[in-house]
């Protein structure tokens, strides 16, 4: 069940900012965190992007195979459009996650493992301690550039 790093890896490359995400980022920075990590956390909160796409794609592959994953991508696209987002990050994240999860079913990781992995990684990012996790995100983000 250690696919937390995988999820964390391909949720990172995105920083499209919705207006509410800016407010959450400012609040996290005021509480002692880092500003760009705060923006990304606020972005995860306020629109269904690639992390929600990974979760729903894992659920879809678990219950219905590849069509379930693509249906989850459609749901994510509709939800992103409702939330005034462009919707590209969540949809492409869900499609990529569908195929990654389906392929890794052959080497022993099943969809259930991915559901638990996404829940644990979202707990790690959003739920333990905001200053530390926002600095961690910022460090990885700068390393990718």
């Amino acid at each position: 069940m250690l696919c937390v790093t995988v999820d964390l890896f391909f949720r990172l490359p995105e920083d499209g900012i919705v207006s509410g995400a800016t407010a959450i980022g400012n609040a996290i920075e005021k509480g002692g965190g880092d500003i760009s990590g705060g923006y990304l956390m606020g972005n995860i909160v306020s629109s269904p992007d690639a992390s929600a796409g990974t979760l729903l794609a894992a659920c879809g592959v678990t219950v219905a195979g590849i069509p379930g994953g693509l249906f989850a991508a459609l749901l994510i696209y509709i939800g992103s459009r409702v939330c005034c987002d462009k919707g590209y990050a969540g949809t492409s994240g869900a499609v990529i996650a569908t195929f990654i999860i389906f392929l890794s079913g052959f080497i022993g990781f099943q969809g259930i493992d991915f559901i638990v992995g996404v829940v644990l990684s979202i707990l790690l990012i959003q739920g333990i301690w905001h200053p530390f996790s926002s600095r961690l995100i910022e460090r990885i983000w700068r390393y990718r550039f």
Partner: protein
Amino acid sequence: MEVQILIALQICVVVAIYAAFRVVFEKNTLRKLPFLNVVSFAVSGIIVLIIPQPLALLAAGAYLIGTALGSNAIASTLAGDEEG
């Protein structure tokens, strides 16, 4: 297989309850929202793990998108108040 679903369910339930306590004990409203996001992720995972059917996927997606829309509305409203 059954044992694996049970373990996954227990992990999701523990995460959801922990994050719900953090929501209750956090003072700042904007900093409550990430914990609320953890709760909604865990609950939509629980929905699919309990009912492994395609319609449960629709229910979980509707729940996840609905909570994200609610958090977006709250955060946008507070941001507008701060700016104006």
